[in-house]
Amino acid sequence: MTVVLTDITKAYGTQHVAVKDLDLDIKDGEFFTLLGPSGCGKTTTLRMIAGLEQVTNGTIAIHGRDVTHVPARLRDVAMVFQSYALYPHMTVHENLALNLKVKGLPKAEVEQRVQQVATMLRIDQVLKRKPGQLSGGQRQRVALGRAIVRRPNVFLMDEPLSNLDLKLREETRTELKKLHEDLRITTVYVTHDQSEALVLSDRIGVMNDGRLLQVGGPHEVYSRPADVFVARFIGSPSINLLEARLHRDGDGLWVDVSVPGGAGLRHRLPDATARALSNGHAHDALTLGIRPEDFLIRRSSAPGRLAASVDFIQPMGAISYAILRLPGGDAVIRERDHLIAATDPDDPIERGTQVWLEPRSDRICLFDQQTGRAVG
């Protein structure tokens, strides 16, 4: 079932606008994640799809049918709440069966469906228990089961894993992915956890301040962010951002990061990027984004390499991160006062070592300093 949001706005009173002019086209069977920080409007958007919030403007269609003014209970969407919202006075069985009974399904079918889902989610041993007698993980699975047992048009999930501890969260994440692969029911998932979004989603919509900034596959939003906010929000540790200028020299277009009194960065843009920039971009002042794993650490200087010193090393197991300072001053670094670059733990670098940085050739992002939008 497709979910299409057209020009959706949600305002509370005249002052607070939670969602602005949102257009979204979720495909049949897709796992779509709305990702963003707290208060960005992602949960409000989900609740509007569910019918729990009225839209101020715009239309919502599920499977081609305009449901903008259809009451929530008639939309046939199932939602998994952050709090799980299990009925505390009912047994797990009753929790799972409620919707089927409301729909008036024959008793035998209700029983068969509940058993099937309970077995699938490994909660068949606790069907007679009440939610208060279950562990966090079991409650989470009951909440999922309550949604699955209905075979709804659309699954809506509002940060369903956020109450689980890290290990259980990772396990459940995998189960959720597998479950979606099996059922292929259109799923709209809300989270502020970018790693969850990257692992689970077919596509991700990144939101901030009520606006949808970018929609794309996990790799696309990670490697080609459309906006400086998206670049910063996705990826851990987050992207390095540097103040840079465009520089035309002979045959090519170069991006320069000048560091007073030190060796600055000078990088020749790939031809395609150069062409795109020459055609469209007017400003020379840009923000240069380089992911930590795309910042290569060199032990020797060369023209165009950025001089830095190793402040300390953060080992993360398979990989280590070097926290780096620029001797000429950190003023060119945006959002924080240091740079981060990935290093190989088998090739350790001492604290205080002088190193030189250069980006992996085509793995840089450029953003307009005024608008924050990607250029090139």
Binding site: A72, S83, Y87
Partner: protein
Amino acid sequence: MTTAPSAGLRPARVIVNTLTVGLVLVWLFPIYWIFLTSLKTPKEINKKTPTLLFEPTLENYRHLFDEFHFARILKNSTIIVGLTTAIVMVLALLAAYALARMNVPGGKHIALWMLSLRFMPPIAVVIPFFITWQKLHLTDTHLGLVLIYVAFNLPFAIWMLRGFLVEVPRDLDEAATLDGLGHLAIIRKIILPVIAPGAAVTAIFTFVFAWNEYLMALVLTSHEATTVPVTVSKFIQAYSILWGDVGASAVIELAPMLVVVFLLQRHIMRGITLGAVK
């Protein structure tokens, strides 16, 4: 050695327990005394030195039912109080749900305003009620008292239930909505079972108020719909007080409340502390 800390607390606990038992005895003694009185003959009751050991008799109870038609009066009270409690609970639950959940403009203020109706002294309105009820032919009828008791109890019940209701996470209503339930079904199947302890406490308060109400019943009933408290007062006569009948009727009046409170005491405790601990 794990008993050491509790051993240290023992003297304090003994004092607290002694005080508690003492207090309970002081509170229970009048009830005990009334119970004894109800089993004594008039001669025994009027002895200058009260006795604790005597031959008990059910004569007072027999007198009460034979001479004062107490069965009918008990039936009146049961009908009036039962209906009042049922109507109050249904209306209050619906109103409380609307106030707590449906974004009624100024819902909080409405709830407080309703509660403020309870501040009004009944004596101030009893005469206007009497005149109006007479014109509507509602005096000395079950319905007449039920209407007044509902009006008097509803604000408090709404306010109390609303308090319990706002503690119930909205997610539950929303999950139920998405499960296909309408408002009434949500109240019946989700909200009511979740706030059952609170609802039980509210019902007990309503029941107790209506069961004990004296002023309105005295003024608005005379014979057909008269209630237990009014009848008890009639045993204080011009030249004598029928202590035996007072005792017996008081025991009968107390009995249902003791039974209700005893049966629901677990819920009462949970109701009183509902929402105190997440």
